[in-house]
Amino acid sequence: MTSPLEQKKIRIAGTSVVTANRTWDGAVVYRTASKGWSADLSEAAIVRNSDEAKALLAESVADDVGAVGAYIAPVQVGEDGKVEPGNLREQIRRTGVTIGQPAQV
C-alpha cells in the first residue's frame, strides 16, 4: 500500500479514480464526472488510461477549495459495474478503520 504521497509518476494499470479529502471536514471524497466531489465511490468518474487520469487529476487539483490532496487510486469495476477499492489503503479509506473504535465505558 505504497502511500500516494510517494506517487511520483502517473502510471495506471487498470481502472482508477481520483480521490481526495473534503476541505472543510477532511472526509474521503471522489471526483465525479460532473466536476464535483462525492463521498460515494459509485459516483466517481472512472479513468482507464494515463491520459484520462492526468486530465481528471489536473481538473481535481485545480478545485482547491472543494477538496485537498487529490491523487489517483486504483479501483476494480465488476461485471455488474460495481466499483470497489483496488487496494487495502483505499478499502480502509472507504469503509473506515479495521480495528473498531474504543468502546465507550
Binding site: 500500500m1 505504497t2 502511500s3 504521497l5 479529502n21 476541505t23 472543510w24 471536514d25 477532511g26 472526509a27 474521503v28 482547491d64 477549495v65 485537498v68 490532496g69 487496494n87 487495502l88 489503503r89 480502509i92 479509506r93 473506515g96 478503520v97 479495521t98 480495528i99 473504535q101 474504543p102 468502546a103 465507550q104 465505558v105
Partner: protein, 551 residues
C-alpha cells in the same frame, strides 16, 4: 504543576485568533492548500486517511485534571469520543473537522493547552521523564529545564524553519524513561564535582529510515549555558543541514556525515560566539520557573499502611500493584502507571469517559495531576499508598487496571494504515492480536519485561527499531509484510534491534512472536534473565533458527 503567566496566556489566545482567521480564509478559498499547509502544521493539524488529525502538546507530559477534562471535552464535542496518546507526550484526535478546529483550540486555550510545536519543521514539544519530580534518586526536576527550553524555543524564528523537525528529551534519573538517546538532542541532567547542575548533551539520535543512537557531544554543560549550547547546535544544523532531500535532512544525518568530532568542533566554535550573550541564564530565571511549579503538600504517612497490607491478600490487586506501582521519593506515596493497553484494544487510546473519570481520580488521589509517558500510558504521580486499593478498584471499573505495565502486552504502536496517510501497513490490529495471544497475565509475568514496538512504515513512529521485539510493516507486491527485529532498547543502554530474517505476512506475525518468546523461555539461563539480556548474550541466530525452521 506549572502555572502559566500572562505572557503564555496571551500567546496561546492570540494563536487561536490567528488560526481562526487562517481557517476562515482557507475555507473561503482566499488561501490555497499550499499556502495553508504550513500554517495548519504549525497548529498541529495533519491531513490523514479519513480526516484531519489534530495533535495537541502535553509539555513534558504533565497534565492537570482540568486539562485532561478539556481533552475529554474536545474528544466528545469535536471528535468521536476518544483520543490517542502518542510516543512524544502528545494526544491526537483522529476525526476532527477543519471548520471546527478553531473552536476546539479555543476551548483548550481556556486551560492553557495548545498545539504549538507538535508538527512542522520546528522545535517540537520538549519531552521528559513522566516520573519527573517524584522519582527517587532523581537529581532534580527535569521539567524546570524542559520549561526553560519550551519558553525559549516556542515560535523562535531561528527554530521555526529548520531543515526538518527537531526533538529534545530530558531525563534526570539514572534509568532513562524519556528515551533521550533516540532524540535529536538528548539531555541527561547531572551534577559536576562542585555540585553544580548541568547536562551531558547527546546529539544525532533518531529512528525513521536511517536510525542512529545519539552520541555524547559534551560531557558537561553548565545549566546556565544550556540554552546557548543548544542554540549553537541548532545553528550548525541550520547552516549545514540538508534541505534538498527530506530523507537526509535530520540532524542525525549531518552528525553521521561530518562525524561527531568535526560536528562537535563546529558547535564549540559557534558556542564561543554566543556563550556569554543574553542566552546565559541567570539563577533568578531558573528560580522563577521553579517557583511556578507547584508541588503537593505531602502528608507524613507510613511506609506500609494497613490498607495496603490487607489488600495484599487479593491476588488480583497484587498482580496490578506489582507492575503498575512504583516507589515515590516521599515515604508513604507511590507513582501509579495506568495502562492504556487493555486486551484487544488499540494501544494508547482513551475514551472521553475514561479521561473524565481519570481526572476525577487524579483530584481524589493524586493532587489533581496526571502524567503522560512515551510508552503511551498515563500515570498518577502522587498516590498515597493507603489509597492504592481504592484507586485500583476505581481504575478496574474504568477498564484502566490491566496489570501489564512493562510486560509483553504493554505494546507501543503507531496508528498505522488504519489512520495514517504515510503508513504502508496496519499496526494496531497486530498489537490487538498480540494482546489477545498473551492475555494470560501469569504467562506474561513468567515472560517478564519485554517491550514490543510496532510501526506501520519506515518513519518509525512506533519506535520499532528500539523495541525488544520490533515489528515494521511494509508493503510488498500490494500486501502487508512485517519485518521483525530483536534486541533493540530505548533506555540508558539504547540499541537498535537486529533483523531476524525475511518478512512475514500479517496473519503470521503473532505466531512468529510466540516462537521468539518460546525460544527465549527455553534459552534463558534463569527466570531473572530478561529477554533483552538473553538476546544480548546469544545474538539473533537461535531465535532466527526457531522462527524460520518451519517456515
Amino acid at each position: 504543576m506549572y502555572a502559566y503567566d500572562e505572557i503564555d496566556r496571551t500567546l496561546v489566545n492570540e494563536r487561536v485568533s490567528e488560526f481562526r482567521d487562517q481557517v476562515k480564509r482557507r475555507l473561503s478559498g482566499e488561501l490555497t492548500e499550499d499556502e495553508f499547509k504550513l500554517l495548519r502544521l504549525q497548529n498541529g493539524v495533519y491531513l490523514q486517511l479519513h480526516a484531519y488529525m489534530f495533535r495537541v502538546a502535553i509539555p513534558y507530559g504533565t497534565l492537570a485534571s482540568n486539562q485532561l477534562r478539556a481533552l475529554a471535552h474536545v474528544a466528545r464535542k469535536y471528535d468521536r469520543g476518544y483520543g490517542h496518546f502518542t510516543t512524544r507526550q502528545n494526544i491526537q484526535f483522529n476525526w476532527i473537522k477543519l471548520a471546527e478546529l478553531p473552536d476546539a483550540l479555543a476551548d483548550l486555550a481556556e486551560v492553557g493547552i495548545h498545539a504549538m510545536q507538535t508538527s512542522g519543521n520546528n522545535m517540537r514539544n520538549v519531552t521528559s521523564d513522566q516520573w519527573a519530580g517524584v522519582a527517587p534518586g532523581e537529581i532534580e526536576d527535569p521539567r524546570i529545564w524542559s520549561e526553560l527550553i519550551r519558553q525559549h524555543t516556542t515560535l523562535h524564528p531561528e527554530f521555526s524553519f529548520l531543515p526538518r523537525k527537531f526533538k529534545i528529551a530530558i531525563t534526570a534519573s539514572d534509568h532513562d524513561r524519556a528515551a533521550i538517546k533516540i532524540h535529536d538532542i538528548g539531555l541527561r541532567l547531572i551534577k559536576n564535582e562542585k555540585g553544580e547542575t548541568g547536562f551531558e548533551v547527546l546529539v544525532g539520535g533518531g529512528l525513521g529510515r536511517t536510525p542512529f543512537i545519539a552520541k555524547t557531544i559534551k560531557h558537561f554543560v553548565h545549566g546556565r549555558d544550556i540554552l546557548s549550547y543548544i542554540e549553537a547546535i541548532l545553528r550548525v544544523y541550520n547552516q549545514y543541514g540538508r534541505r534538498d532531500n527530506i530523507y537526509k535532512a535530520r540532524i542525525k544525518i549531518l552528525v553521521h556525515e561530518l562525524g561527531i568530532e568535526k560536528f562537535s568542533r563546529e558547535v564549540e566554535e559557534e558556542w564561543q560566539h554566543i556563550r556569554n550573550s543574553s542566552l546565559q541564564i541567570d539563577d533568578e530565571v531558573i528560580e522563577d520557573i521553579r517557583s511556578r511549579f507547584t508541588y503537593p503538600a505531602y502528608e507524613k504517612l507510613p511506609h506500609m499502611p494497613d490498607e495496603l497490607r490487607q489488600a495484599a491478600a487479593d491476588p488480583d490487586f497484587e498482580a496490578w500493584r506489582r507492575n503498575s506501582v512504583a516507589p515515590h521519593k516521599i515515604q508513604g506515596y507511590s507513582i501509579v502507571t495506568i495502562s492504556l493497553k487493555p486486551t484487544g484494544k488499540p494501544p494508547g487510546d482513551a475514551t472521553a469517559e475514561q479521561m473524565d473519570a481519570l481526572a476525577d481520580l487524579a483530584d481524589k488521589y493524586s493532587f489533581g495531576e496526571i502524567r503522560v509517558g512515551h510508552e503511551q500510558n498515563l500515570a498518577l504521580p502522587h498516590v498515597a499508598k493507603r489509597d492504592l486499593p481504592a484507586l485500583w478498584k476505581a481504575l478496574d471499573k474504568l477498564g484502566l487496571a490491566t496489570p501489564n505495565v512493562n510486560l509483553i502486552t504493554d505494546i507501543i504502536a503507531c496508528p498505522g494504515l488504519d489512520y495514517c496517510s504515510l503508513a504502508n501497513a496496519r499496526s494496531i490490529p497486530i498489537a490487538q492480536e498480540l494482546t489477545r495471544r498473551f492475555a494470560n497475565h501469569e504467562l506474561a509475568n513468567l515472560i517478564g519485561r519485554l517491550h514490543i514496538n510496532i510501526s506501520g512504515c519506515i518513519n518509525a513512529c512506533g519506535h520499532h527499531h528500539v523495541g525488544h521485539i520490533g515489528i515494521l510493516g511494509v508493503e510488498k507486491n500490494g500486501e502487508e509484510v512485517y519485518q521483525i527485529t530483536i534486541g533493540g532498547r530505548a533506555d540508558e543502554s539504547a540499541a537498535l534491534g537486529n533483523l531476524i530474517g525475511p518478512g512475514v505476512k500479517f496473519d503470521e506475525v503473532a505466531d512468529v512472536v510466540e516462537d521468539i518468546v518460546e525460544a527465549y523461555l527455553a534459552l534463558r539461563e534463569r527466570p531473572e534473565e530478561l529477554f533483552i539480556d538473553t538476546v544480548k548474550r546469544l545474538g539473533v541466530e537461535p531465535f532466527k533458527e526457531r522462527v524460520y525452521a518451519t517456515r
